[in-house]
Structure formats: structure tokens, C-alpha cells
Amino acid sequence: MSKVYFYEEDVQLADNQEVIVRVELPGAGTICQTIVTIQGDGLIKIKDEGLAIIGDSTKLKNKMLYITSNPSNLAAEVTKIRENIFVNDKLIIQHQNDKAEEKDPQLDIEITIKASTS
């Protein structure tokens, strides 16, 4: 059975910004399905690499962004599975695991959107 990797992070965003979640798959031969939701209201899907526009940062303050993702790598030459998740171009999650450890990882990610202090 596959292993779940749990992540909990915060991200600080200035007010009145569009919140954009972007998935990046470094290297060769990785496939992935990702779902993004704000506390269960509406699900946005991303296939492989792509982005999801979530909403306005002012309205999303202190709300929880839930992301689930299940990357797999089909290239025999590659030994690691890697996935990066950005919120407004800030690298929030940098996942990497050896295929020898897990070939079908399930990522369970909670990101709290906070107001920027600057």
C-alpha cells in the first residue's frame, strides 16, 4: 500500500492579491493528479503541471487551503519522485522521496493563508 506524506505550512500574502497555486514536476517522466480546495468549497483539479486560481487573498485570510496530490514516476532511469508546490511563486512544499521507499506517494497538504506583516 502507498504511503501518505503529511505537510502543514503557512503562507503570508499581502491583501488584494489573487491567490494562485502552481504545481511543478522537476525531472523526467513524472505524472500527477492534484486537487486544491479551500476548506472543501469547490475542488480545482490540476493534471501534471499547472496552476489553480483560488480567489482573493483578503477574503481567504486565515482560511485553510487543502491540497492532495499523487505523483508517480514512470522513467526507469530516475530514482526519485519530486513535486514542488508554489503559492504566488513562493515555494511552499518541496517533496522528494526515493522510489525504493515509495512508488505511489500520496501527499496530504494543509496551507494556512495569513496576512502579510510587511
Binding site: 500500500m1 502507498s2 501518505v4 513524472t30 493528479q33 486537487i35 499523487n70 508517480s72 514512470l74 505511489d104
Partner: protein, 439 residues
Amino acid sequence: MKHIIALCIILLLLPAILWAQVDIEKTKAPGSPASSILEMQPSGILQPKSYKALETALFSNYVNNQGSISIPNDFMIEFSPYWAKDPKLDIEQYLFPNPWESLVRNASFSLASTQNYYLGDSTKSKALGFGFRSTLVISTNKEKERLAKQLETIYNTKDLKNLMYMYARMSLRKQSESKDKFIGQYLKDLKAKDSTLNHITHFTVNEKSLDELSSLLHKQLPEYNSQQKNDFLQIVNNVLDQYLKTIETRENIELLIGNRPGFKLDVAAALSLDFPTNEFNLSEVPQQSIWLTPSYSFSGEKSNIEVLGVMRYNYHNSNFYEKYFPQKVFNQHSFDYGLGLSIVYQKFSLLFEVEGRRSREVLESVSGADGIVNQRIRYDSDLQYIGSFNYQLSDKLMLTYKLGKKFEPVINYDGTLISLLSLNFGIGGPTKENISAKQ
């Protein structure tokens, strides 16, 4: 079962006649040309994945503590320059390269070394082997369509699993009082009219489709404890893997990718460098080889047919062999060629190979006063053919029968007929590839 036991006893009682032969497996482009040209099996193999790791591997194995060159025994380094750069390729680019791209991606260089390169008088000398290998691949449109269809299946499975896992997360937020209440909430959310699952074309949400899921959840989930939320979700994830067969789907496509039909051309080259006195101030190049192995594979649902041609050119350095192997006869140029046909149908496989050898040696070369060069040349040619019938009795047991004619050996000529019946068993399970009449 009684027949198998009787067969085993007969095979044990009969004298085993072992034949040394050059079979098509040895003539095919080798996995490691560098160790193949030294005729050694490396006991240590390094495959560095970056240039930095390559530098470390070379320095730590080929340079001793005093800073001078050393040659490790039965050791090999293999390096693929393309993959060392960590290239960025999406799945379509990875699976369907053009022929030139496949040649570049599959290129690898190997360096092998041994301290047991035997000369004619049984002295051991140190030697290095340098090799290059690559494979050109041309896929058929049918194969591309088949892979694309399997890719769609895995994407759909991942999509479904992700959705169902996300629903589990949300349901746990709403109802975590007990395991039963969570399961009730979860199934209710999955079946809800506005559920995203209702909009998926590759899955039907109904009582029947969710009955099995419900049963698995009830059986495997423990009572919910908020302190162990992650462990609880891990088990939900395990149940979804079983229910949706996610791992089998990924393994199926990996199998398809690993056994792709279509045309392939394996190319390889190698040369050996010997230090006959074990000092680095004297070195000789005894042998150089080039291999070409074109093959075409037809793959069906239950069967696989492969046709392959093999060509190998060997150059033996006459000066080296005359000096260090004075008792043996070697041909300076030799050319091995062959055709093979392999058919696999369920547990049964058939392999038929024909191999020829042509060699040429200049015995004497005399220049006349008129400038004309007269040469005395020896030509040799030989042919061998062998049919191999294999039946997989079980995962660990294979019955094999080989019949054919081998090359005429240089010394100890005692016939060329091959007839070998064997029962092979192994821990990893034997395959027709690793059974050879060479014992």
C-alpha cells in the same frame, strides 16, 4: 508430479555433457561492453548519477593514497551523460522520443578493470576496458496508441483516488465522533448529488460500486482517535489503494514501458588496454570490438515474438598475441553474424539461432623488387545453429531442451552436436535469457 520426479532422477543419473559455445547471447551487444571485452564479471559496479559523483567514483577507486594510478580488481563504472544533467521531460516527451533522441538518452560509457587478465603463460596482468553503448528505438503507431490508452487509465485512477481521498479528509472534518459515523458521512458525501464524483465519466457512483468500499473501511479502520488522525488517514489511503487497484495500474504500465514492441538497434564498441608487465610504462591494445544488434519485437496480449540479427566485428592485435600467446592460433579479423527468432506464448517459449563466423589472418607478407606485395592469407569460416525449447513448469522451475550444432573449437575437438535436456530452478526464477548451454 510423478513424471517430474522420474525426469529429475534420470537427469541426475545421466552423465552431464557440457559444451562451451559462443551463443547468440554473447554475440549480442552486451550490457557492459567494457567488462565484456575483458571477459570478466565485475564484482563491484558503480553507476554515478551526476558528474560530481563520477569524479568521486573515479578518484576514490582509481587513485591510491599516494596519489598515483591504481587498477581495482573486477570493478566497473558505468555512466550515462544524458541523465546526469537531470533533464526536464514530461511523460509524452519521455515515452515517445525521436530516433536521435533515443540514441542520445540511451548512450552510456563504461570503464572496467581487472587484475586477472591472463596471458598465454598463465601470468596475471592488469587491464582496463573502455566501452560505449546505446540503443536507437523506433516505436510503432499501434504501440503508441496502446501506451496512450494505458496512460489514460492511470490518470483516471489517480484522479479518482485523489478525489476520494480528499472527500475522506473533508468527511473527517465534519464527522469524527466514531469510525462508523465517519464511514456513514463519507459514503453520504460520495453519493451526494453535487458530488464531483457524479461528473466523472470513468466511475459510476451507486450502492453497488460503494458496497465493497464500505466493507473494506469497516474491516480495516480502527476506532477514531483525534491524536492519531494521520494514522487513520493512512489506513483510509490503504483501503482506497485496494479498492481502486492503484498500484496494479501503475505496475501494468511500467511493464508495458519495459517491454515495448517495435524496432531497436543496439550499438556498442569497446577496446581493451593491457599492462603485460603490470607497469604503466608498457601498455598494449589486445582487442577491439564493435557490435550491432537490430531487433524487431511484436507484442500481443498473451504473446511476444522477437526477431533479431547480430553482428560483431573483432580485431585482435597480432603482435600482442604472437608475443604473449605464442601457442595459440588467433585470427586478426573475425566477423560473427547471426539471426535469432524468439517466440513466447504463455508458459512456452521457443528460441532459434543461426550464427556464422568468418575470420581472416595475414600469415605472411612479402614485398617483391617490382613493388608488388604478395600475401599469404588464411580464411576460416564456421556455422552454428541451435534451437531451444522452454516450458515454465512453475515460477521457479523451467524445463529446457537445446538441439543444434556448435562452432568447431580450436582445441579439444570432440564433435559439434549439441543435445541438452535440463531442468532449471532458481530463487529469482529462471528465464529463457539466462539459461545457456555454456555451464
